[in-house]
Symmetry: C2
Subunit: 375 residues, 2 copies
Amino acid sequence: MKKVSEFKVTPWEVSGKVDYDKLVREFGVSKIEDSLLKRIEKNAGDLHFMLRRKVFFAHRDLKWILDEYDKGNKFFLYTGRAPSGSVHLGHLLPWIFTKWLQDKFGVELWFQFPDEEKFLFKNDLSFEDTEKFLNENMLDVIALGFDPKKTHFIIDTKNADLMYKEACKVAKKITFSMVKSSFGLNEQSNVGSIFYTSMQAVPAFLPSVIKGKEIPCLIPHAIDQDPHFRLTRDIMPKLGHYKPASIQCLFLPPLSGAEGKMSSSEDMAIFTTDSPKEVEKKIKKYAFSGGRDTIEEHRKKGGNPDIDVSFQYLKMFFEPDDKKLAQIEKDYRSGKLLTSELKEYLIEKINAFLKEHQNKREKAKKEIEKFLYKS
Amino acid sequence: MKKVSEFKVTPWEVSGKVDYDKLVREFGVSKIEDSLLKRIEKNAGDLHFMLRRKVFFAHRDLKWILDEYDKGNKFFLYTGRAPSGSVHLGHLLPWIFTKWLQDKFGVELWFQFPDEEKFLFKNDLSFEDTEKFLNENMLDVIALGFDPKKTHFIIDTKNADLMYKEACKVAKKITFSMVKSSFGLNEQSNVGSIFYTSMQAVPAFLPSVIKGKEIPCLIPHAIDQDPHFRLTRDIMPKLGHYKPASIQCLFLPPLSGAEGKMSSSEDMAIFTTDSPKEVEKKIKKYAFSGGRDTIEEHRKKGGNPDIDVSFQYLKMFFEPDDKKLAQIEKDYRSGKLLTSELKEYLIEKINAFLKEHQNKREKAKKEIEKFLYKS
């Protein structure tokens, strides 16, 4: 028997070729069934392509969220970003879907910037660094068009007057041995990293505390964050709060191919501030191809879109049109479409997206104040 | 050889008959030498009886504090109170000395109320409880007459917007194995209790952060808190701050005698809100006596002031006059002064003190706002 490639998924590391079916079983989440998709479509009016294509593919308690919504008990959305570097396309993916949820369901979004997280987990990162990235990262979130009236940014160190007390309530219910097993910490881990998950739990119930009534919470996130929220879900009922529900997406692959996830620590990401030239160069040079070695061979045998990073970026992010995508897939598989042509198409799509994003990002500089939650 | 009684001193438990000489060696603190007392007397104009009588008996880096002071580099004071019950005489003792330091040296006091500490360490304590005690406890501190212009109350959960970020900087330098050995925590300890010492470190350098220059810090405290500050002293230089100095006192004994310390968890304390009748009853009924079983025997053989709780309260707290104290000691030792007479004298002293304290405590209700640090 052949040894299958090993993979690892924790909130701090994703490596190897991820077996999502295995992950679903190990984490104990559910795949999103068609009946749930139909209910979302009924409420939203349409179905986002990330749902149709199972980019968002797993969940916890999504049925309950929709039941409550149907009863008139609206949920709020919670997602976040630990500022530790520049934002890349892999970060944007779940936020774009979150924006769609906000628009379609008319709900509030609490967006957490845990500016202490990476400070605590990375030796060489200072608070001066995270402060700089925080400001940059907020621009990317605002640029996506979230409703400032319904969107609240909470920054752990700045909103700690609200959050720390609530985090202590969570922390009192979590022992070291629980976080040790969930997050792979040990006795040499610093005491801030051991405490940290308590802070990540807080936005899941903070709006309920502030408003003095229980509001269901839906967390859209990439599946590697599930260990945090699994623990959060165990604790919340003990504090008299609802368990937060979640809807979880695949990882956008790095340029190098299907292993791991797009990550700023390697030169394998497209950043939101990349120039058209940089995008062109990165896609042409690094985007792993499912095409054949020679044009002749490609024409004859066709390419493999399933392992082709450019095709995956179109499918997961840049080509919402199902018909166009199906045509591209067909043509690539048959050999009619060459890798170079596929890449050109993607480059145009990314650069059109980034041109608009960068414009909005520039305008966002004047809008930050509107989004900051003032306690 | 007789087995000596065992004792235990941690920030959360003091039990047994404390061998202070052993504690000084184990903790690695220094006794306050006469040369240091002379320097304090020179600067302050006189010497507080708690220094003369070695109630404040140990220190770390006190010489450095005085050197800096002589150079014109004033220190600030830092002490605190974890709100978890009513304030008793044992709490007041170091604060009264702290007030004297503030007056004599004209320095700022940062008074921490770590309202999460006991919440995290005691199963049955809620934040509703600590909030109630916090308000009560602040009155006792204010009643002692601290200068509102030079005194800042910081409340961990309410000032966390300032403190949490600084605590994370400390936490990044402390591993679980370090707190485990210092504080007797284990894998079943909650992650808030593991993080907590980072918050207790913050006031030792927060004024330096706020003012943008390094200010020496002197912490007057009962010696059981030394493990916190020993750790704090190890970390501070790594963050570019001075090591805080400390001046440490003995424990005021419980009514029951010379073992442990006055503690609100037992019915062995005199609280600041006790009525004259309650004080009288507690002293008469519970205050351990060094006198003899019968008046005849007492007259003949005399009493032992060294183990007599009433005498110790006079010596440590209620009789600042050295001549009067010496006379009492002599008369008690000779048998001229009976236990009942000694107790009557103490009861009068305590009740006179509490009458004034309770008046000031009442007035303090209108003054809380002046003391709260606004970030």
